[in-house]
């Protein structure tokens, strides 16, 4: 992790420090001062107010304002806070890094948020595959108990809360917040029918529940210590603060980079020596994915779009989970799109017909084109299948399914067909992949 501009590191300040995951390092670098400040000098409303002022956009993928989400919480005797650490969007690896390397920051953010929303209990749902992360987060919770930051009458404030680390068991769909709640209730990860659109109304065990992402939680201690206004002073417009971008694919230096929101462009992130350091082997960009594999692809002439939620949305895609995948001019676009289609087919929970069946058809057609048995009519058939999952195949997408996994399926396939139709035709005419 490196950061060379003058913008403060809000969530990655401890990455790279010795035993950055232990309480000793955490306390030596200002850890738990925000929790103390919130619990002993602020009311829950004042904490929520600072978070609203910061305009922190949720860092999971949908980008919904955290403060607004909190304000929608239905009053009720039992309220829960659930932290989503089920990071599984392909090519996204920022939460993985935060859980393994700064678990106390997540714990502190979670405790402050539990105080702000009056949660009776907090759960951190960690993707099951993050074995080391689960160990370090549980160790952090054990240390925080011993330190007096969790449990009864925290720091003498009269506020008590318990925090449970919950392991997932491997299912992409559990990143969808209602599927996550089902999984946390010990069931299959089937997304719930909407409305209600927000677990803030009906959540865990039917009670009002806030679900926030791990990176969102990691921002909370800084916001409490420095004020929401300082956070909002960074970035442009609605895209405030900093954000971690996970840069992957054909760059010289793939990695997680925390940068000020909306100040840099995709090109800056890819080319600057302190970030991506340019494309591997000096090759040209052929296309890139701007925000996880659910997002429609961008062409090289879109590299100058700023890294802001609204600018990317205006250009017809999304910043999503903050993962950027660069593909160079030696990449087979059919194969890349096929692999992404295969992912959605494997991960569809199977509740809704368009997603369950459509993903399978698309995967099969993409495979046969890549392997040389495709027909020209397949291209129309593919677009038709996409249209049946998400009518119009546009962005933002129409939805025929319970959750947004369905409309994410067409993104890559439709992008590849629209941008690289000739490449599909070569596969079909030559009866195989020209890149092999």
């Amino acid at each position: 992790m490196e950061q060379t501009n003058q913008v403060p590191k809000i969530v990655t300040s401890r990455i790279g420090l010795e035993e950055s995951w232990g309480i000793k390092t955490y306390l030596a670098t200002g850890g738990y001062t925000a929790l103390r400040k919130a619990l002993t000098t602020m009311t829950p409303e004042q904490v929520a107010d600072e978070v609203s002022k910061s305009n922190l956009l949720g860092r999971g993928g949908a980008g919904f304002e955290v403060g607004r989400k909190w304000s929608m919480l239905k009053p009720g005797p039992v309220r829960y806070l659930v932290v989503n650490g089920d990071e599984s969007e392909p090519a996204t690896f920022k939460d993985h890094m935060l859980i393994e390397n700064d678990p106390h920051q997540i714990v502190e953010g979670t405790l402050i948020s539990a105080y702000a929303v009056g949660a009776a209990r907090a759960f951190i749902f960690v993707r099951g595959e993050f074995a080391l992360g689960l160990e370090r987060l549980q160790a952090a919770v054990n240390e925080a108990y011993a330190y007096g930051a969790i449990g009864r009458n925290i720091f003498g404030s009269g506020f008590s809360v318990d925090l449970v680390v919950h392991p997932g068991a491997g299912a992409y769909i559990c990143g969808e917040e209602t599927a996550l709640l089902e999984s946390l209730e010990g069931k299959r990860g089937f997304p719930r029918i909407k409305p209600p659109y927000f677990p803030a109304v009906i959540g865990l065990y039917g009670e009002p529940t806030i679900v926030n992402n791990v990176e969102s939680m990691s921002n909370i201690p800084w916001i409490v210590n420095n004020g929401g206004a300082s956070f909002a002073a960074l970035g442009v417009g609605r895209s405030t603060g900093t954000r971690i971008f996970a840069l992957a694919g054909h760059v010289n230096r793939p990695g997680n980079y925390e940068v000020e929101m909306a100040k840099l462009t995709f090109r800056d992130l890819v080319e600057r020596p302190e970030y991506g350091g340019g494309m591997r082997l000096g090759r040209q960009v052929k296309a890139f994915i701007p925000g996880g594999v659910s997002a429609p692809w961008f062409a090289p002439d879109q590299l100058d779009i700023p890294l802001s939620q609204d600018d990317v949305a205006k250009a017809g895609s999304m910043l999503g989970s903050g993962s950027i995948v660069m593909m160079d001019d030696h990449t087979c676009m059919v194969r890349a799109a096929w692999r992404i289609a295969k992912f959605f087919w494997r991960e569809s929970c199977g509740q809704c017909t368009p997603c369950r069946e459509g993903s399978g058809w698309i995967e099969k057609m993409m495979r046969r084109i890549e392997q040389g048995a495709g027909r020209e009519a397949d291209l129309d058939l593919l677009m038709d299948a996409c249209d049946n999952i998400s009518p119009g195949v546009a962005w933002p997408p129409q939805q025929t399914t319970i959750c947004v996994l369905g409309p994410s399926i067409p993104s890559s396939v439709a992008s590849a067909i629209r941008m690289f139709r000739d490449e599909f035709l070569v596969h079909i005419k030559e009866g195989g992949c020209p890149y092999e």
Binding site: R121, A131, Y145, D162, V164, P167, G168, Y205, G249, V325
Partner: protein, 211 residues
């Protein structure tokens, strides 16, 4: 005599105390069962059903939804080669082909000595080290064919025993205690917080009207 060993049974009962409803412990209990037996055996699933208050079929039906829960025996080392897009671009597909040839099994298969089960896996969030491999959910990368073979040889020789526990042991750090603050105690506290909040709100409104 239950299917869980006395030590595991105690840990299982501790897990149950962490949740307001018992069924929430179902997946953590499945992980515990895999830690004991390497996979989910029928007697273990029956005991999980008894502990969580559901039928054995519901335990099986839930477990079968999740990639990490195995109702059939797998090798001591579950080797997952990622071929999703970030790894694909860096040679993940070729690495999987190499792994299949090297271990002599197709993805999904287990070697004859029951040491290795090979899987093609989805993104493991290790994309800056692509192509990435997970062994019992411990991550390695970037790997070449050569370094993959070296990893397998070392696993076979026991050189990674401290780093990579046998399949089933997900986390070696446990929570020692159950829930410290009972829910009814917290709820009484929250009621008091809500009352204080309403008072502050009323006072603020009264002050506004006074102006």
């Amino acid at each position: 005599m239950g299917a869980f060993s006395p030590e595991m049974r105690e840990r299982a009962e501790n897990l149950l105390t962490l949740y307001p409803k018992r069924r929430s412990a179902l997946i953590p209990l499945c992980h515990l069962a895999q830690e004991q037996a390497g996979h989910l055996t029928s007697p273990l699933m029956e005991e999980i059903a008894e502990l969580t208050g559901v039928t054995p079929a519901e335990v099986y039906g839930t477990a079968s939804f999740y990639d990490m829960l195995h109702t059939e025996q797998v090798g001591k080392f579950l080797v997952g080669v990622c071929t999703n897009v970030a790894c694909l671009l860096q040679g993940g597909g070729e690495l999987l082909e190499h792994a299949e040839a090297s271990l002599g099994v197709a993805a999904g298969g287990t070697t004859e000595d029951e040491m290795f089960t090979l899987e093609e896996v989805e993104c493991v969030a290790h994309c800056d080290k692509a192509p990435a491999v997970q062994v019992n959910y411990r991550f390695f990368g970037p790997l070449t064919g050569e370094s993959f073979d070296d990893l397998i040889a070392k696993l076979r020789a026991g050189e990674y025993d401290g780093v990579v526990p046998p399949h089933g042991t997900l986390t070696r750090v446990t929570r020692e205690n159950g829930i410290e603050v009972p829910l009814d105690e917290v709820l009484a506290e929250r009621k008091e917080m809500d009352r204080a909040k309403a008072e502050r709100k009323a006072a603020a409104e009264a002050a506004k009207e006074g102006n």
